[in-house]
């Protein structure tokens, strides 16, 4: 299995600097957990940033240096405990999640059944916009829509297509107002994605247009 779609250099650099928006940072982090290529890219970006950032010096007065050093040496060695492993559960299926999303498996307010064969579990991140786990059963699809803001999608398990491309586990997909698409999956095991949106979706075709007044209820 090979991941084809990765965050751009710019997205990765902003993320490595800690300057990307929190929701975007989280989904990039989850991709990096799944993607050996981006783990190497991150290591290189962080090395370059460290060289750039830690070259300049701003000396402290001796007295302050000594005080700080003494305070630090007086602190005990920290013991760290490994994190527990959480699985995301839907209908008796258990999904392993990337490290960065582990903590959120227990923070969903249950799955809600939406149109067709689509399930959605909102993750309350307290961010501007929203984040969801979305599961499409085999044959399930999201009505054609476009985006007023940005939609970032990470395929956590399975695969799907949207009329423009085919996406496999680990792929990182960015959509904005230029993209109109209608994701669907024909994979037997269905498809689980994590999605971060900063604006409501805008449905563009057929009956689904009727959803627009209510789109805040679905995919706000």
């Amino acid at each position: 299995m090979k991941i084809k779609l990765h965050p751009s250099d710019q997205q990765l650099t902003l993320f490595a600097q800690g300057q990307a928006a929190p929701g975007e940072s989280l989904i990039i982090s989850a991709h990096v957990d799944m993607c050996p290529v981006c783990q190497k890219r991150m290591a290189n970006v962080e090395m370059a940033l460290a060289e750039q950032v830690l070259t300049e010096q701003s000396p402290l007065p001796d007295r302050q240096m000594q005080d700080m050093l003494a305070q630090i040496l007086a602190t005990p060695q920290a013991s760290t405990t490994p994190a527990e492993v959480h699985y995301l559960e839907l209908d008796g299926k258990h999904f392993a999640l990337p490290r960065s999303l582990q903590r959120y498996a227990s923070k969903i307010n249950g799955w809600s059944h939406m149109v067709g064969k689509l399930w959605q579990a909102r993750v309350d991140l307290g961010i501007h916009g929203r984040a969801d786990f979305i599961y499409m059963e085999k044959g399930g699809s999201v009505p054609e829509h476009t985006h007023r803001g940005h939609e970032l999608t990470l395929v956590l398990d399975g695969e799907f297509s949207d009329g423009k491309g085919h996406y496999d586990t680990g792929d990182f997909i960015c959509c904005d107002g230029q993209h109109t698409h209608s994701p669907r999956t024909d994979a037997d095991e269905g498809c689980l994605v994590f999605s971060v949106l900063d604006q409501p979706l805008h449905f563009t075709s057929g009956l689904a247009r009727l959803l627009n007044p209510f789109s805040h209820l679905f995919f706000k």
């Binding site: 050996p36 950032v53 300049e56 010096q57 000396p59 602190t75 586990t169």
Partner: protein
């Protein structure tokens, strides 16, 4: 001449890096205060320059410097020289602490912290918690494979991954050396990995 200067500069840089690696290892192994003092004097002024730019206020900048170097002192054992230079590791710690400090300071309500985003200061346990793509398996599969482990390995893996104990706690509870816990964990994970790749 110019080439000579450049070479010297790079060589000096490499020497500093090697020295810092050695210091981190001594701090991790023996809590050596002199080695930490060396790291401290090298990095504190550099971190302060970064912190002043990021925090825009001397008190907060000093807090960022102190917090970063406290983590270096307390968690030197998490530094892994095969993954990068000491300066990279220390920069990423500062970046993480900056992120959490700004979140608090700006009263942002996001439930996303630096440890979620960048696992710099997390105990590296998680071969099981970070399944490689090819190793995505169902809970049932893991359960079956787990049952197939030798009893001693099963005991350690259960305590660490299911009960969430630290390796030290497991060592204490079983009355065996920490090193034995570590090697049993490593062997068990290796074995699980092999069994998983056999299944494909």
């Amino acid at each position: 001449m110019l080439v000579g200067i450049e070479l010297n500069k790079y060589q000096a840089q490499g020497d500093v890096t090697n020295e810092m690696v050695a210091c981190l290892h001594t701090v991790a192994a023996k809590r050596c205060q002199a080695s930490f003092a060396r790291l401290f004097h090298y990095f504190a002024p550099r971190l302060r320059a970064y912190a002043l730019k990021q925090m825009g206020n001397d008190a907060l900048a000093m807090e960022l410097v102190q917090e970063t170097l406290t983590n270096v002192w307390q968690k030197a054992h998490l530094f892994d020289a095969s993954k990068g230079a000491p300066s990279t590791w220390i920069f990423t710690i500062a970046r993480n602490i900056r992120f959490d400090m700004l979140r608090k300071q700006q009263h942002r309500k996001e439930d996303i912290c630096a440890d979620d985003l960048w696992p710099v200061l997390c105990e590296q346990t998680a071969d099981l918690a970070q399944p490689e793509l090819d190793e995505q398996v169902t809970l049932e599969q893991v359960g079956q494979l787990f049952e197939a482990l030798p009893d001693k390995q099963k005991q350690v893996i259960e305590a660490i991954y299911i009960q969430g104990k630290s390796q030290q706690e497991v060592a204490d509870a079983l009355g065996i050396p920490l090193g034995t816990v570590k090697s049993r964990t490593r062997l068990a994970l290796q074995r699980l990995k092999e069994m998983l790749s056999d299944e494909d």
